[in-house]
């Protein structure tokens, strides 16, 4: 009788521990968070040559298997080229956003020198960012119209 009771208690203990482990593990799974798969946000284009856009995640472009894709933006500054013009030269900030899709097609635009605020936006781009850019063309120049940067936890992470 005593022995029987002891076994029952042990079994209960085991079942309880198992149930606890199950709950704990299912809880851990539920807490894993939302993730976008590495190649879900490859480079894509929209619109036409006059107005359009391009977007994609840096991580997805890098993880793509085609060997072509890339997407990103660059910021630059140029100042006087010699001491003779330091007093008159106007330093300029500028930028470009550029993308190439899986077929080797490219889309790009220029970030106007007026867009000093845009430089702040460009500086938020990191290795795991998703970026989207729209553009329009006028007078032989392709201007970036909008640049947005998403830095979310679910973004595809850039791997080596």
């Amino acid at each position: 009788m005593f022995k029987g009771k002891k076994v029952t208690f042990g079994k209960r203990l085991l079942i309880g521990a198992g149930a606890l482990a199950l709950v704990a593990s299912s809880g851990a799974l539920a807490r894993a968070g939302y993730k976008v798969s590495p190649t879900s946000w490859e480079v894509s284009f929209s619109g036409n040559s006059t107005t359009g856009g391009f977007s994609g995640a840096l991580g997805s472009a890098r993880a793509s298997s085609d060997g072509y894709q890339y997407i990103g933006c660059e910021a630059g500054w140029f100042g006087p080229a010699s001491s003779a013009v330091t007093a008159t030269f106007t330093p300029t900030t500028y930028g470009y956003c550029w993308a190439r899709d899986r077929n080797g097609n490219t889309r790009s635009c220029y970030l106007s020198a007026h867009s000093n605020d845009a430089m702040t936006t460009l500086s938020t781009i990191n290795q795991d960012s998703y970026i989207g850019v729209t553009y329009f063309t006028t007078g032989g120049v392709v201007y970036c119209n909008e640049v947005w940067v998403d830095n979310y936890s679910h973004n595809p992470v850039k791997a080596n």
């Binding site: 490219t106 790009s108 007026h114």
Partner: protein, 183 residues
């Protein structure tokens, strides 16, 4: 049940005591804050209980609004001047950016280039024209362009970059180079 009753009563009494204590402290804090505010607000008026000095205080208090008004007015004027300065600075920066962009978009002329810059621009232009004619951008062009770009004026780089950008956006140029089209 009868054994639980005393502990229930004790709990209720303790709870009520805690609530009262918290309310008292909170009320006191509010009262202190109000006193502080009042002491700040009322300082000139409560300065003197004596009738003579009270009259003086009234005179000062009567004069105070105009004095305050003058001070506030002067302060506003200074703020306005500063804002004007900031606006003028912003206007100047915008104008400078517009001039710089115009120079970039208009492009450089042969007079703007020295011998090396002219040579680099000629070489780079030939590379770009050849690529546009073929409809393809290759590793060879990318490498040659990088070399030439190092000696080119920013406005010349911009001109050629825009040619490639337009052709790419129009779907007339396929980029097969391993390295991105940056130069």
């Amino acid at each position: 049940m009868s054994r639980r009753l005393p502990s229930l009563v004790t709990g209720m009494v303790l709870g009520a005591g805690l609530l009262y204590g918290a309310g008292h402290l909170s009320g006191r804090a509010r009262s202190d804050q109000a006193t502080e505010r009042a002491s700040v607000d009322d300082e000139p008026a409560r300065a003197e209980p004596s009738p003579l000095l009270a009259a003086a205080a009234v005179r000062v208090a009567a004069a105070a609004p105009s004095a305050d008004f003058a001070a506030v007015s002067a302060r506003l004027e200074r703020i306005e001047q500063r804002l004007d300065g900031v606006a003028a600075g912003a206007d100047a920066r915008r104008a400078a950016a517009a001039r710089a962009e115009e120079a970039l978009i208009t492009g450089a002329t042969p007079e703007d280039r020295d011998e090396h810059q002219q040579g680099a621009f000629d070489r780079a232009s030939a590379i770009v024209d050849r690529a546009l004619a073929a409809g393809v951008w290759t590793d060879g062009e990318q490498g040659a362009m990088r070399e030439a770009a190092a000696e080119m004026l920013p406005a010349d780089r911009f001109t050629l970059k825009m040619k490639l950008s337009l052709a790419g956006n129009e779907g007339k140029l396929r980029d097969t180079a391993a390295a991105p089209m940056f130069f």
